[in-house]
């Protein structure tokens, strides 16, 4: 089990490892998530970013927002780059050039993880490198202008899956990336939300303490791409959890057996199912789902989403032994 949990006062005392002055949008929840993740670091660390919003926003020449060593290589190879860095530090330690191996942390968006980066991620997980992979999921290729990704939920509007006369947004379902990663039988997989920062931060710390690959899937509402006012980013994430659209869990693999555990609000809902909100409460806040409500309410499509949310929630409950 993990060491003592971090408390809010520990986090408040920790220096911010991201300088202000970065170019993320006003209200960018991913930026909040990055700050939270960096608060959870425990010592020397190196970060690797895939191409994406926060990579660009923190590294436009000549400025950097990074207070730890950081490299951006390309879009699809954050995990492979991290693998090389981890192996290099291992080699340096073997040769007695360094005393300890720093934490290696990957920050990649849904583009660089679900789709173009999937191969590198899967390979790095299979090889068992000691690193933490943080997926900041804003559910579309946001940096290039809100195009659909494998992480875009069904019926969401994006620029390459617009809601038109004939087709109501993306028709494919959101790829169950965290389940897929957990089934790689890595030691630690978790989902987290910026609306429950201490849950997120403690999961990050646990991931860093894990020997071997650790993966944290963080839901990152995007005011620009999801179409909601800039002050509601955390509120939207909260509803993603309260409607069980995005359940919070962690999975560990012991003796080849992947065991799930619910955390935070999701654990509370599992114990008191009446706390679960209808997914409509989550969808109606977001302009990318507005075609499900206006000009007429598409109850059929909302019901499809609800059914899928319930099925995934049921699956997670079953895996957690709480069905």
């Amino acid at each position: 089990m993990s060491s003592a949990r971090l408390k809010l006062k520990d986090v408040l005392a920790k220096e911010d490892l991201l300088y202000p002055g970065h170019r993320a949008c006003a209200g960018c929840v991913a930026a909040s998530v990055f700050r939270m993740v960096l608060k959870a670091t425990r010592g020397p660390a190196v970060a690797i970013s895939a191409t994406g919003c926060l990579e660009v926003a923190t590294s436009i020449l000549p400025y950097t927002s990074w207070k730890i060593p950081w490299i951006h290589n390309a879009f699809e190879n954050a995990a492979a780059t991290a693998a090389g860095i981890e192996a290099a530090f291992k080699a340096m330690k073997k040769r007695g050039l360094i005393d300890e191996i720093p934490d290696v942390i990957v920050f990649a968006g849904d583009g660089g993880t679900y789709d173009i980066g999937f191969q590198a991620l899967s390979g790095a997980l299979e090889r068992g490198h000691d690193f933490l992979y943080v997926l900041y999921d804003n559910e579309a290729y946001m940096n290039t202008g809100i195009q659909r990704s494998g992480g875009t939920p069904r019926f969401a509007w994006t620029t390459t899956s617009p809601a038109g006369e004939e087709i109501p947004g993306k028709l494919e379902w959101k790829k169950p990336i965290a389940h897929i990663v957990a089934e790689h039988k890595i030691p630690y997989t978790a989902t987290a939300s910026p609306s429950e920062p201490m849950d997120l931060i403690n999961k990050v710390r646990r991931g860093l303490e894990t020997e071997g690959p650790a993966f944290i899937h963080v839901i990152c509402p995007c005011p620009r791409g999801w179409r909601f006012p800039t002050n509601l980013g955390i509120r939207v994430a909260e509803l993603a959890v309260k409607t069980c659209f995005f359940p919070l869990w962690e999975a560990t693999c012991e003796d080849g057996d992947v065991k799930y555990r619910l955390t935070g609000t999701s654990l509370a809902i599992a114990k008191k199912p009446e706390l679960k909100l209808p997914v409509e409460e989550y969808l109606k806040l977001q302009g990318r789902f507005s075609h499900l409500f206006r000009p007429e309410k598409r109850a059929d499509l909302i019901q499809e989403i609800q059914a899928a949310v319930d099925a995934n929630w049921g699956y997670v409950l079953k895996r957690a032994g709480l069905a």
Partner: protein, 416 residues
């Protein structure tokens, strides 16, 4: 300084490369198998399994990830090596430019193989020619001994403070990679001493200080213990990208001298001197054959036979294709009247093969220019013989008589 006694080991080109890298003992080797490079990867894995090297071997899931892992490792200041061929190099193409632009001294062996389609596993230079603009130093080897020797020199070239560019060592697939040669190997300690430790490069950055900033100098590497962390792989707008490219080119220019210096230093240890070009019997030549790689060994036999027949022919094997040794080529060929430029790759739709186009650019501004005739040969492993070279040279003599190159592009051994 006396030349060192060297062990003679029967090895194929791939084995010789693996052996050289074993002696260098980089921090990581990240590689993905592809014929005809596979033996390099397999042999090195055996060294790792037998505990003969402390190198971390990363069995990556693709060539793109292989070079990506090398970029990550080299960015921390570690020594990184990989090897590939054809499709693998093509898959890595995106990262080639990133590696050279980040000024990372990665060393890579390319076992030259034809690019698909059709899929062909045999030797030609289309793979590395496709990468000639990527900012990597390219050294083409004539035989496996040279591949062994160059795999050792490459680190000193790449890591030289004036260069700081990655290096490709090219050896022809199957012809060299899978053919046994008697390789003279330096002792392990000699190799270790020759490559030494990578020289430290420092860069200046501004850090917050007082109400503003101050300049601090730090080693160019990702180092969590450094006083100032570095941010690598940044985003440049149109206001500064161009300057970084010009800066990169300066490394290439410096490499011309560095490659010769390292080649001389290596020669003093081994008895085998290497330069940018390897001329053969060109002193009084009328006609020269110019080319890269293993076929130039065959060409040298053709030169000898032609000489016996009274032809004043010589051979210029270009070892360093990037950076292109412009002055050395001009100087060596200055009295030659016609050149048979042998290209083992095509540039579809271009005015000639890749080597031809570079040679034409070299001689364009000269007052005295030889006739330049282009011969495409050896694609997809099509063999080229001594007879083929002799016929090419005779064709050139015909051009000289006619006063002009009669055929802009000739294809050696092509049916139809």
């Amino acid at each position: 300084m006396a030349v060192l006694e060297q062990k003679v080991i029967g090895m194929t080109g791939d084995e010789a490369v693996a052996y050289a890298i074993k002696q260098v003992e980089p921090d990581i080797v990240a590689a993905y198998p592809i014929t005809p490079q596979t033996i390099i990867v397999e042999r090195f894995s055996e060294y790792v399994a037998d505990g003969l090297v402390r190198t971390e071997f990363v069995a990556v899931e693709s060539e793109h990830s292989a070079l990506s892992a090398c970029v990550g490792a080299a960015a921390t200041g570690a020594r990184a090596f990989t090897a590939t061929a054809a499709q693998g190099l093509a898959l890595m193409w995106e990262i080639l430019y990133i590696a050279s632009s980040l000024r990372l001294p990665i060393v890579m062996a390319i076992v030259n193989r034809a690019l698909s389609a059709p899929i062909n596993i045999h030797a030609d230079h289309s793979d590395t020619m496709g990468a000639r603009d990527s900012g990597w130093i390219q050294l083409y080897c004539e035989n496996s001994q040279e591949a062994y020797d160059t795999c050792i020199q490459a680190w000193r070239i790449a890591e030289h403070p004036d260069v700081r560019l990655p290096v490709m060592i090219c050896l022809d697939g199957f012809v060299l990679s899978h053919t046994l040669e008697d390789i003279r190997a330096l002792p392990d300690e000699t190799v270790k001493r020759f490559v030494g430790t990578p020289p430290e490069i420092r860069v200046k950055v501004e850090v917050p200080a007082g109400g503003g900033t101050e300049i601090v100098e730090v080693p160019y590497k990702l180092d969590p213990w450094a006083p100032v962390p570095l941010t690598m792989g940044t985003f440049a707008m149109y206001d500064c990208y161009f300057e970084y490219k010009r800066q990169q080119e300066e490394g290439m220019k410096a490499a011309l001298k560095v490659i010769e210096e390292i080649g001389r230093e290596y020669g003093q240890l081994s008895g085998r001197y290497y330069g940018l070009i390897h001329p053969y019997r060109l002193e009084d030549a009328d006609v020269a054959i110019v080319g890269l790689g293993s076929a130039m060994g065959t060409a040298s036999v053709a030169v000898d036979e032609l000489r016996e027949g009274g032809y004043r022919v010589g051979l210029l094997r270009i070892r360093c294709f990037r950076p292109f040794p412009v002055e050395q080529v001009k100087e060596t060929l200055k009295n030659v009247r016609a050149v048979a430029i042998m290209d083992r790759a095509m540039s579809f739709g271009g005015p000639g093969g890749p080597l031809f186009m570079d040679m034409a650019a070299v001689f364009y501004g000269e007052a005295r220019r030889p006739l330049l005739a282009n011969f495409i040969y050896g694609l997809g492993g099509r063999d080229i013989s001594v007879v083929d070279f002799k016929e090419a040279v005779k064709a050139i003599y015909g051009d000289l008589e006619a006063g002009a190159v009669r055929e802009p592009m000739r294809y050696v051994g092509l049916r139809g």
